[in-house]
Each structure stands twice: as structure tokens, then as C-alpha cells.
């Protein structure tokens, strides 16, 4: 089970982070100040620390710094308000950690926590993936469904790979835009919907199953028939 420590001073945010992460099946512990958070992180082992950068008394970056100084390698996901995004926070990515700007989609937070937790085990995503009748070879850019090869455009292929890799999990529009097009903003129109529905119809032409479920308000979830 993934163990997560959440350090956040806003009680409401803390509450929904706690609830949401538990729903994902993580073991969650909470701290509401930098100092408490530091003591807990120094005492026990966590897979990921989710931490607000603006904390009363002691800010998040100094906690990360001290933990690193004591050779604690726990992965840290820093949460920051958009305006406060400075180079120090950007520098976190270079240190193997990550940041997420507020407000964020919960799906994105889960994806980042997941990625940081997996970091230790280091298994490169395999080139071929199989789900029921669907076979995906990301090296040869080949997709087969029910024994037939699908004709996908490069972006459609990339989208499918992303969905399959995150199968069973909700991915938001923003995450898709970021991964498939490298766009860090939401154009507010239906570009993602259009791309997803095209991919969906290509999949539907070769199978009766609806592989891509739309979760209103949140995004999409890729599901195999066996789930």
C-alpha cells in the first residue's frame, strides 16, 4: 500500500485530500504545519509527501531542504498557488520531485502521486500492452483489436497509449492536453472531446465494447471488458 504524508494548513483542503487519497486506496497521514510535517517525515517512512509550499511558520521548501540534508529521499509533490511559481519550485523537477499548481484536478494529483511512488521501483513501461482483444505496440506504432490492425493518426495513437497506461484511472482533459499535445493550458473548447470521440469510434468499428468511459466533470477512464 502506498503511504502518503499530506502537509497542508488549510483544513478544508486537508480534508478533501485525505478523503480523496483514501478513496484511491492509499494510507494517508496528515500534518497541518511545516514543523509537524518535518517531524513526521523524519520519523517514519513514506512513499510520497504531498506538501503545500505556503505553510505557517515554516515553508515547504525549507522542509524539503532539511529532509534532503538528512539523506531522506522521500519523493515530494509540492502544491503551490499559480502566481508563486518561481524558479526554486521549478527546480524541484530537476531534483526528482514534482510540483502541481493550485487549483488542480484531483485526477492529476493522483497521477503525480502514483508516478512519484513508482519512481523507486523503476519499471519502464513495456513497449507492448495487452487488454482483452486489444494489443498495443508502442515501438512499432501498431494497434490491433480483435486481430485487425487499426489505422490511427499519430496523436490518436499517443492518446490511446496514455489512456491504456492509466487504465482504470480517471484522466482529466488537462492531463490529456499536457501529454498528447504538450499544452499546459485548457483551450476551453471541445478539442479533447473531439479527439477522444474519434478514437472511440475507431475502436467501436472493431468491437462492441465501449473502451473509453466519459466521467462527466472529471475526464475519461479507459476500461477493459474484464474489469
Amino acid at each position: 500500500m502506498i503511504r502518503v504524508l499530506v502537509i497542508e494548513d488549510d483544513p478544508e483542503t486537508l480534508r478533501f485530500l485525505d478523503k480523496g487519497l483514501r478513496q484511491e486506496g492509499y494510507s494517508v497521514e496528515l500534518a497541518s504545519s511545516g514543523e509537524d510535517g518535518y517531524l513526521m517525515a523524519a520519523d517514519s517512512e513514506y512513499d510520497v509527501i504531498v506538501m503545500d509550499i505556503m505553510l505557517p511558520g515554516r515553508d515547504g521548501l525549507s522542509v524539503v531542504k532539511q529532509l534532503r540534508g538528512e539523506r531522506k529521499r522521500t519523493a515530494v509533490l509540492v502544491l503551490s498557488a499559480k502566481g508563486a511559481l518561481d524558479d526554486r519550485i521549478r527546480g524541484l523537477r530537476a531534483g526528482g520531485d514534482d510540483y502541481l499548481t493550485k487549483p488542480f484536478a484531483f485526477a492529476e494529483l493522483v497521477a503525480r502521486v502514483e508516478a512519484l511512488a513508482r519512481r523507486g521501483s523503476f519499471h519502464a513501461p513495456s513497449a507492448t500492452m495487452q487488454m482483452g482483444q486489444l494489443t498495443l505496440d508502442s515501438e512499432r506504432h501498431l494497434v490491433q483489436l480483435g486481430g485487425e490492425t487499426l489505422d490511427l493518426q499519430p496523436r490518436e495513437f499517443k492518446l490511446l497509449v496514455y489512456l491504456v497506461r492509466n487504465r482504470g484511472r480517471i484522466v482529466s482533459k488537462t492531463m490529456i492536453l499536457d501529454y498528447v499535445w504538450g499544452y499546459g493550458f485548457d483551450p476551453q473548447t471541445n478539442v479533447v472531446e473531439a479527439k477522444v470521440s474519434r478514437l472511440r469510434s475507431k475502436l467501436a468499428a472493431h468491437s462492441d465494447f465501449d473502451w473509453i468511459r466519459t466521467i462527466r466533470g472529471l475526464g475519461y477512464r479507459f476500461e477493459g471488458p474484464e474489469e
Binding site: W181, P187, T189, R216
Partner: protein, 459 residues
């Protein structure tokens, strides 16, 4: 008084005029004296050379002064000495110093001197000549009249000096006035703003003094910038707060309605979905707004790098291709061969293009067309042109489209928060580029994005 520029200029000009005049006065006086003396000498020489012996001289002088008037006699000095040294003829005042001059002169010698006379009151210019018979002859002029002439000269001089001083004072005052007129206008404008006037006040541009012209331009530029930033801030606080109301009302409404009735699970789910959708709208507004302000304040690409406009545009077209196709819109991208590299912030450009293409797709009716062209206009300028076959923009609204939260068809319910073109405008300005928007004669809108080219290596 002396602390004002006017006072200082007037005093300096008057002082300079007086100093120059005093200097000139002494120089001219000296020059006049010299030329007077030099003018007299030839006449005297002519007189003393007229006689060969002292008897001739006595004869000549006596006959001469028999006819001449008193006037000349009074100012003249004539002496004829016998070979023995005694005076044979004398005319004019007693000047012992002058009489002694002939002693020791060899025969045929001639000399010219100026000596004091009348006990220092005046001076005598005298030419002496030793005659061949041993006698001597002297002719001189008393330079008494110097004083009268000088007095006259000084009187005219004083009058002209007075006029010059007045002129200098007027000139100094005028110079100070014309130099400070602009400065005064600047401080008047500043005062007007201080006393609660609008920040849109500007100093009149028509200044004559170059430095003041520069000052005016700088001040006006600064006011322009402050005005822009304040408008920007006002937009964040007032306009944005205003625009937040609708989504907030909808979120609150949905939540209240869900709580009041006996909602099914499905009803609550619906409410949550609505809340998330409205929140994303709010997030987008806040995020775009902050981006616009950041671009306005920075006025330069936030993270500049070398970007290929053509490939960035191709990506955006690819992004929107499916949306366009789902509306049956025919979208083309035509690129003239060449390099389209500029120095820019990649993310900002992606957003700019996405906003423009987004608008085009949104407003073009089913089965319409969108044409994108990218070409090099001149060596320094690149242009991206997006033409659609939509309804165009009403002429009276064209000037408003870059205003924040301005939406052309509020009634039609097309999605969007009215910040897209404001963002594009701010981004293009920050990149030193330009956006132009107009209606095409054949219908639809034409958006032109002008960029300055990237000059490799030089920054």
C-alpha cells in the same frame, strides 16, 4: 528670485552683457586714442619738413599764423630754434619738456614724441627736426580735445549699454520662459492627476525645446504605462470580480436546489458535475487573467527561446482538426517555403494560436472554411493570417474586441470568457508583434498576426 531659472538666466545675461561692454569700451577707447595720434603725425611731419633753414621756418610760420584763425593757434605748438639754441619763434603753450627734446639731435634728424603738458592735464604730440644750418624746428598738437571726445563717446556708449542690458534681460526671461513652459506643463499635468484627475491626462506634445520635448515624451510614456498597469489592475479587481458572479451564482444555485429538494443520488451527482464545470470556468478566467497581467507587466516573452512559428502553428491546426471536421469545416494551412523562426515563449505562442484558431472554429458555421497562411512579409516581418467564413465582427464592435471580458455575441451562448483576444493582444505586444483584425469583403473575419523575425545569434 535668483533660485528660479528665470532669475538666474536674466542675471547671467545682464552680467555677461555688462562685462562684455566694459571690456569693449576700454579696448575701443585705447584704439581710438592710438588712431588719433597716428592721424596727427603725418601732418606735423609735413610742417617741419617744409623749411630748410630756421629763417625760412620763422618766415613760414609767421606768415602762416598771420592768416590762420585763433582756434588752431590755441591748440598748436610751434618752436623755431636758432643754431645757438635760443628760441627764434614760439607759438602755443610753454612746454619745457618738449623744448628740451631738440638738444643732442644731429643735423637732419627728426623725431616724434608725446609728452605731458599743462602740468599733466593734457598731452602734446610733437615732431622735432634739426635743420641743416644747426637750427631746429618743432611742430606739435595738444591732444586736449581727447577728453571732450571721450565724454561724448561715453555718453552714447552708456545709452547703448542700457538698451543692451534691457534686451539681455528680456532675452534671458524669454529663454527661461520657453524652456520652462514645457516643464510647467508637465507639473500642471502632474498636479491635475494628483488632485484626483484621470490618469489619461497627458502633457501637450508640441514642445519647441528639444530637451523639454524629450522630457514630455518620457513623462507621457510613463503615464501611458502607469495608466495601462492601473487599468490592468482594475481589470483584475473590478471587472474580474464582476465576471465571477455568474459562475458563483450557478454553483451556489445548483448546490442550494440540490439540498432543498429530495435529490436522488443522480441529482447530487449532477450538481457536483455542474460545480466542477463552473469551477473550471472560474479557474480558466483567473489563470488567463493572471497571464494577461503578467504579460502586461513584463512586456517581454516570459521565457524566450527560438521557436519555429510554422511548426507551432501546424500543431495547433492538428489539435483543432477534429473539432473542425466534426463541424464539417474545411481547414487548410498554407506555408510558403522559408524559415519562420522567432524569439518567443513557446507556451504563450501555443496559446495565442489556439485562441485564434479556437475563435475561427467556434464562429465558422457548419460546412464553412478556415484558411491559415504563413509567410514572410519583409526581411524583418513574418505574418500569420487566419481567415474564416464566419459572420465577421460588426464594424462598431471591432475596436472593442481586445477589451477584457468583451464578447461580441453575448446572447448566442457560444462558450468562452471574453479574454481570448485580450490575451492574444497582450501576448503579441509582449513579443513586439502586432495583431490586426478586420472583416473580409467576401464575409468572415481575417486575423493577422505580425511577428518580428529572429535574428540568429544576436540578442
Amino acid at each position: 528670485m535668483i533660485r528660479t531659472l528665470t532669475g538666474r538666466l536674466v542675471v547671467s545675461y545682464v552680467g555677461l552683457t555688462i562685462a562684455l561692454n566694459v571690456l569693449l569700451f576700454f579696448f575701443l577707447g585705447f584704439a581710438m586714442k592710438r588712431s588719433l595720434e597716428q592721424g596727427v603725425s603725418p601732418m606735423l611731419i609735413q610742417l617741419v619738413e617744409a623749411a630748410d633753414s630756421f629763417e625760412d621756418a620763422v618766415l613760414e610760420f609767421s606768415s602762416e599764423f598771420g592768416h590762420e584763425g585763433e582756434h588752431l593757434v590755441e591748440e598748436s605748438y610751434f618752436r623755431v630754434f636758432e643754431p645757438g639754441g635760443s628760441i627764434a619763434f614760439a607759438q602755443g603753450p610753454e612746454v619745457p619738456l618738449a623744448e628740451g627734446l631738440v638738444e643732442g639731435m644731429a643735423r637732419g634728424d627728426m623725431r616724434s614724441d608725446t609728452v605731458g603738458a599743462d602740468g599733466g592735464e593734457s598731452r602734446l604730440q610733437v615732431v622735432s627736426r634739426r635743420l641743416s644750418d644747426g637750427g631746429a624746428i618743432q611742430a606739435g598738437v595738444l591732444l586736449k580735445h581727447d577728453h571732450a571726445l571721450f565724454r561724448e563717446f561715453r555718453r552714447y556708449w552708456n545709452v547703448s549699454l542700457f538698451i543692451l542690458i534691457v534686451l539681455a534681460a528680456i532675452l534671458g526671461w524669454w529663454m527661461a520662459q520657453s524652456a520652462t513652459r514645457g516643464v510647467k506643463e508637465v507639473s500642471r499635468t502632474a498636479e491635475r492627476i494628483l488632485k484626483g484627475g484621470s490618469l489619461s491626462a497627458r502633457v501637450p506634445e508640441h514642445q519647441q525645446v528639444q530637451e523639454v520635448k524629450q522630457l514630455t515624451a518620457t513623462i507621457n510614456g510613463m503615464l501611458e504605462r502607469i495608466d495601462g498597469l492601473v487599468t490592468s489592475l482594475r481589470f483584475v479587481t473590478v471587472d474580474a470580480a464582476h465576471d465571477f458572479r455568474s459562475p458563483l451564482t450557478r454553483i451556489r444555485g445548483a448546490a442550494e436546489v440540490a439540498l432543498r429538494g429530495d435529490e436522488s443520488m443522480e441529482g447530487y451527482r449532477e450538481m457536483a458535475v455542474r460545480a466542477i464545470e463552473e469551477t473550471s470556468r472560474l479557474e480558466a478566467i483567473v489563470e488567463t487573467m493572471l497571464e494577461i497581467v503578467r504579460l502586461d507587466i513584463g512586456r517581454e516573452p516570459p521565457q524566450p527561446e527560438e521557436v519555429d512559428l510554422a511548426s507551432t502553428l501546424e500543431e495547433v491546426v492538428d489539435l483543432y482538426q477534429d473539432s473542425a471536421e466534426s463541424k464539417g469545416i474545411y481547414m487548410t494551412l498554407k506555408k510558403e517555403p522559408g524559415s519562420y523562426h522567432v524569439r518567443a515563449d513557446r507556451t504563450v505562442l501555443q496559446r495565442v494560436f489556439a485562441n485564434i484558431v479556437d475563435n475561427a472554429v467556434k464562429f465558422t458555421p457548419l460546412g464553412g472554411s478556415i484558411h491559415l497562411d504563413i509567410y514572410r512579409d519583409t526581411d524583418e516581418k513574418l505574418m500569420i493570417c487566419v481567415s474564416d467564413s464566419g459572420p465577421g465582427i460588426p464594424e462598431e464592435e471591432l475596436s472593442h474586441v481586445f477589451e477584457r471580458f468583451y464578447r461580441v455575441d453575448r446572447s448566442r451562448g457560444t462558450p468562452g470568457h471574453g479574454l481570448g483576444l485580450s490575451y492574444v493582444h497582450a501576448a503579441m505586444t509582449a513579443h513586439g508583434g502586432e495583431i490586426r483584425l478586420r472583416n473580409r469583403a467576401e464575409g468572415g473575419t481575417r486575423v493577422e498576426l505580425w511577428f518580428r523575425t529572429f535574428v540568429g545569434g544576436s540578442e
